[in-house]
Amino acid sequence: MADDKSVEAKVKTEEEKGRLRSGLKEGIEAVKGLYDSYAVTAKHLFRKPITEQYPEDKRKLPARSRARIILTRDPEGQERCVACYLCSGVCPVSCISMQSAEREDGRRYAQWFRINFSRCIFCGLCEEACPTLAIQLTSDFEICRRDLLELVYEKEDLLTDHGGKNETYDFYRHAGVSVKGDKGEHIGERPPVNVKTNLP
């Protein structure tokens, strides 16, 4: 019995020693942790700040960054927009509205075309939906105004005199009212097949 007790006591002192040792280790680790973190911040003090001071140095934007929307013209200088309503239909925030009309030669155009940039989220879905490459997003993002109504752009604000991302594309060379040539004479069109030649 006495031996058991002394063994127990020994085990206990061993345990206490172990606890003390681990406590000391923890303490040293804590001090080292503190020292390391102060050293890291002190090192940062002498690094060059990574701040880009915006109005002075403007970063070059990625080529496909999306911002202010424009309406482009085809190579002949005519409005590309045919007022099909696809862009206003796909717009998730319903910021595009227009009224379609038809010219005397049957070509459609937008009587008025309005984009509310205070709502626009620059998602680019309108550009994807457009069949005539008329509506396009530019990388000009600096369009904030003090008055919200100044952010409502009308057709004359949106129209440009160039073709945007594709200067050569002309929808009416592929389809539409002003298609003039005969069958098989348009861009990317094969001559019509005489079905009768297929007869046995």
Binding site: L34, Y38, T41, H44, P49, T51, Q53
Partner: protein
């Protein structure tokens, strides 16, 4: 004759207030710039040359803001609380000795507002006062966030007040006086930080908890409690809390300088300049700490205060007392 004394006193008070408020204002700018550089940013640099007028712009902004009082707030206490915090910090300055007495045309002008013989007790009394301002302001706001912040602050400051007080007992023992001027005089040969590094560390940590600075800023804890005890404050009342915090930093810097770094003692430069330079060490260290350490959890904070700082402070008193008795016989 008493009129002359009063005039001198008023001039001294005005000079100290001007210096301290100026320092506090530019400490805010220093904090923002230094913190920016520590985080590889630039910090404010738009108002004036390199942002030098930023504190003035901030002050004007805060003065022109609307002073909102929540609908169900306790209006009297709500209005009163920021003043308690700010004045508590300012009043401590009255007992901080700035230098040796000046002699102008035979008159001796002591460079201290009031040379209290129990200056140390006065410092403790006033540093506990700011707890009231904070807790009362938090309670009077009638807001959950404020109340939680106030309760945290009260609990934290009560626990750290103890080790703050105990850490200065060895200093008083070594100086043999509670008078701050005599404590500084006792450090003529060497600053007490060399003899009492443990007391210095305890005082520094507790003072950071008192000043509600990171890693002990649980009463404010922006990302949990919005603004903690000053959530509902705006305009000039908020500014009082804010400036009070920075004045408090300056005061703690000055106290550390007086108790541990030898006060006005130093070669070449005049005493007040030395005191000012020494008083700036701790605020800069606090800013550095803010950029380095994350906020403690509440239970860690309490555990650290009660289970580590307090026993170590008591042990330090025991050892210092024993050594002093042994030396002095």
């Amino acid at each position: 004759m008493w009129l002359f004394g009063l005039l001198v006193l008023l001039i001294k008070i005005a000079a100290i207030l001007a210096v301290v408020f100026g320092t506090a204002a530019y400490l805010i700018l220093l904090e923002r710039k230094l913190l920016g550089r520590l985080q590889i940013r630039l910090g404010p640099n738009r108002v004036g040359f390199g942002g030098i007028l930023q504190p003035i712009a901030d002050g004007m902004k805060v003065l022109l803001k609307e002073d909102l009082i929540p609908a169900d707030a306790d209006r009297t206490i709500f209005k009163f609380a920021p003043a308690v915090v700010a004045s508590g910090a300012l009043l401590i300055l009255a007992v901080i000795p700035l230098g040796r007495p000046l002699t102008v045309r035979g008159y001796e002008i002591p460079l201290i507002i009031t040379d209290l013989n129990v200056g140390l007790l006065y410092v403790f009394a006033l540093s506990s006062m700011s707890v009231y301002g904070m807790a009362l302001g938090a309670w009077a706001s009638n807001s959950k966030y404020s109340l939680i912040g106030g309760i945290r602050g009260a609990a934290q400051m009560i626990s750290y007040e103890l080790s703050l007080g105990l850490s200065l007992v060895p200093v008083a023992l070594m100086a043999g006086s509670l008078n701050l001027t005599e404590i500084v005089e006792a450090q003529a040969n060497y600053p007490f930080i060399l003899a009492q590094p443990v007391a210095f560390l305890i005082f520094l940590i507790s003072a950071m908890a008192e000043a509600k600075r990171l890693p002990f800023d649980l009463p404010e804890a922006e990302n949990e409690l919005i603004g903690g005890f000053h959530t509902e404050y705006s305009g000039m009342r908020f500014a009082l809390f804010f400036v009070g915090e920075y004045v408090n930093m300056v005061v703690i810097g000055a106290l550390v300088a007086v108790f541990f770094l030898g006060g006005w003692h130093g070669p070449w430069l005049p005493g007040p300049v030395w005191l000012f330079l020494k008083a700036m060490i701790v605020p800069v260290f606090m800013i550095w700490t803010r950029a380095t350490l994350p906020r403690l959890r509440y239970d860690q904070l309490m555990q650290f205060g009660w289970k580590i700082l307090l026993p170590v402070a008591l042990l330090n008193i025991l050892i210092t007392g024993g050594i002093l008795v042994w030396i002095n016989g």
